[in-house]
Amino acid sequence: MKTMELPQRDERNSTQGDVVHLPLGLLGFEQVKNYSLLTKPDEEPFMWFQMDNAPHKAFLVISPFLPFPEYQPDLSAADVEFLGLTAPQDALLLTIVTLKREGGAVINLKGPIVINQRTLIGKQVIPNNACDYALNHPLPVS
């Protein structure tokens, strides 16, 4: 399934504070199944994907389309089925940001988090075309 038609996320429909269920967890964090998606006004467009069992631990996330409008992850049929996606606009895409110790930031375009906005079920997917994208795509930050 191509996701290029995905609209920009509508802030009026913000899922702020919603609990997202990841039945498989994130890779390397398989035991953590529930996350809260939080926004803080002074940190936008970044958001926090916060572990429910360890509230101080979180992933900084951002929509991949904001820094990288041409991003077109091709989701496998198995992932589309797993997430119960019936229309591209059901999917909210987030990429995980790594803040580098030496300064700067990168986003992981190989393993985006896809959330079904109707059911709030999510998964970290590896798109069919993951080889076209970088694990450490530089993010222009200051």
Binding site: W48, L60, I96
Partner: protein, 79 residues
């Protein structure tokens, strides 16, 4: 590690619900067909490890200072 010999077209079954079939042999490449329930994640090991490592590096404390996107910063003129 359990080592089994299989011919082209033959399969193994794991836990009664995961089927791994030898689909094709091309030189030193073996193509595997994997049938597994949707709750069983299947990944190439190297990409799995890469993303796992990236996630572990990304896990942060929310007290960290969040940077600003530079192109967003450009929209606001410096005082």
């Amino acid at each position: 590690m359990l080592v089994l010999s299989r011919k082209l077209g033959e399969s193994i079954v794991i836990d009664g619900r995961i089927r791994v079939k030898i689909v094709r042999l091309e030189g030193d490449i073996v193509k595997l067909g994997i049938e597994a329930p949707s709750e069983v994640p299947v990944h190439r090991q190297e990409i799995y490890e890469e993303i796992q490592k990236s996630n572990q590096e990304a896990a942060a404390d929310q007290s960290v200072k969040v940077p600003r996107l530079s192109f967003a910063a450009k929209a606001t003129p410096a005082p």
